[in-house]
Amino acid sequence: MGGTESIENKLKDAVKDLFLKKKVDIVIGFEKGSLPLTSRPCFIRSSDMAERLVWNASCTNNLAVYLPRFFQKVPRAKKSGTPPPVVGIVAKGCDARSVVGLIKEKQILKENVVIIGMSCQGVIDRRKIESFIDGSFIAGGRQEPGGILEITTGVGDKKKIKVSDVLAESCIECQYPHVENADVRIDGESITASDDGYKAIKAFEEKSPEERWQYFTDEISRCIRCYACRQACPNCYCKVCFAEQTLPRWIGPGDELSDVMIYHIGRIFHQAGRCVECNACVRACPVGIDLRLFTRKLCMDVKELFGYIPGLSIEELPPLLRFELNDNNDFITTG
């Protein structure tokens, strides 16, 4: 691993090139964040802004979440009849699969998206880093060549941590790190695809129903219902979410635990056959609920029951829009 800087330069050049050739109107990428060891989404509108772009292991967000808003009619529309912009997106494997999903669900126009496919080396999980530095905080940090993070802790110590030791769970278990449908490709080293066969999910299934329910209850009872998991998810583009619908009002707004559970069951269930396991919901959760364990169960079932993997092909119909006469019928109670 290594060479993020050269990749960063290649990325800047590629983006500048796209602007010079007038192939894009706007590029969504990452810039340096305001806290140490963070990057954040930024919107590049001209070739000279491209210098702001960064590429490193802290580029965590799924940028596809910003795409639908370019193609929606905003309430304060500037002028009707202006064609939608051509949007470039700096995409990791998971972002690119989200783009495919959005095209498939007709939220964005295929010809108006330019995917800049990055070679992804995985992204870091800040919570993991914090556990590495014994309860202190990250006072400073930068990424050095060779996949090493140099971190200054709150007490002034310098610590070197391998990126591979603090990778997010989703990256360790990532099955598709490569961008298959890139329009512009930035080459470099990337993590190897791994298929752990949903080990964590199967281990959880081994537990007794009571244990599983207890775990689910404990996790959900921490929820403060900020709905950040929903907002950070590229798949959640509904204009009105079922959680906020008033006719019918599916769930109450208060701290009634069953309401919170139904929100989570509903949100996770809506991901069936759509979730690309990018971990955006988990990262966005400010109280650190283990949403991944529950969402991946649906990913696993969709794969095992219907042989479908989201985000791989634009043509293939999503599993819940399709059916076979000989689908699994084992769960049916017969009279």
């Binding site: 964040g33 305001s34 806290l35 140490p36 963070t38 990057s39 954040r40 989404p41 930024c42 919107f43 967000n61 979440v65 910003y66 905003v74 309430p75 304060r76 309860g135 905080f137 990250i138 006072a139 400073g140 709150g154 403060i224 900020c226 709905y227 950040a228 929903r230 907002q231 950070a232 906020e244 109450g252 707004p253 208060g254 701290d255 009634e256 955006a280 990262r283 966005a284 400010p286 109280v287 650190g288």
Partner: protein, 328 residues
Amino acid sequence: MLKKADINKFIAAVMNNGYKVFGPVKQEDGVSLSELKTTDDISFDYFNFILPPKRHFFPWSELLYKYKDKTIHEAPLPEDKTILLGIRPCDARSFSFLDNVFIDDKAVDPYYQNRRDNTIVISLACNQPLPSCFCTSVGGTPAGKEGTDILAYDTGDSLFFEECSERGSSFLKLYSKFFSTPDQADVQAVKDFIAKAEKQVLSVNIKNAAEKLKEKFYDSVWDKLSFRCLSCGVCTFFCPTCYCFGLYDERDRRIRVHDACMYKGFTLEASGHNPRPTQSERMRQRIMHKFLYTVENFGKIFCVGCGRCVTACPVNMDIRENIVEVIG
């Protein structure tokens, strides 16, 4: 002065007198403000609580009344005597801000007021500001006394208690047997301590922010600022001074729930019209509210600089940068 080793005895005595003590409790995912069941749970190994302590006076979801058989049964006023222990001065300051809102001359929120009257706030001066902190820029300090009854300084193996209000001093008098008189060295230690912490806090130049914001209402800067925002509302839920709430009727009861100006539904009218249709107006509302409207109404910037919104934001919207960008 109170030896840290003796704090258990002090808290046990307080609990025996019928107080519920909420303090820093070590849990799986860090230290959080929860009720102390035994005095052993307490841990001073934390920077600040993840969730803002406003939830103690102004709960996330609160029952106001129930109706049955055509009569309304109001919820009883909370009467528990409580101690909030280990609140950071920035958060303690937020209590004095919320007092302006909920204990107004014209209207008083009895639930808030009762909780406030029954609670003694013992805050703990901040010895290690985080990279996201900026309390000194908005008028606070790492050892601020606003909104707190007793301020404690952690000087290593003991705690130095300073009374900041009448209630605080009469409370401390009851328990004077636990405390020793500080000597010169201790006082000096405290002074050094404040100076050191203050130096570490990041400073943001927001001078005359209110004046400058007045002219920015129709500025296009809001569009640019808000583009990255996901409108998830984490910043408002995590803000110790955000106090907006919604009232909902549920079956047989009316409840009050925290609401967020970052949500589309916050201003949505029954007709379908939304006076704040895009994120740009919502972002403007949040920043204007904190740095302009409250200055006009209460003479205070409603931000304590705790930095929770900075760290919790999934896309790193940094209010320090935003305000500087707006006022230019």
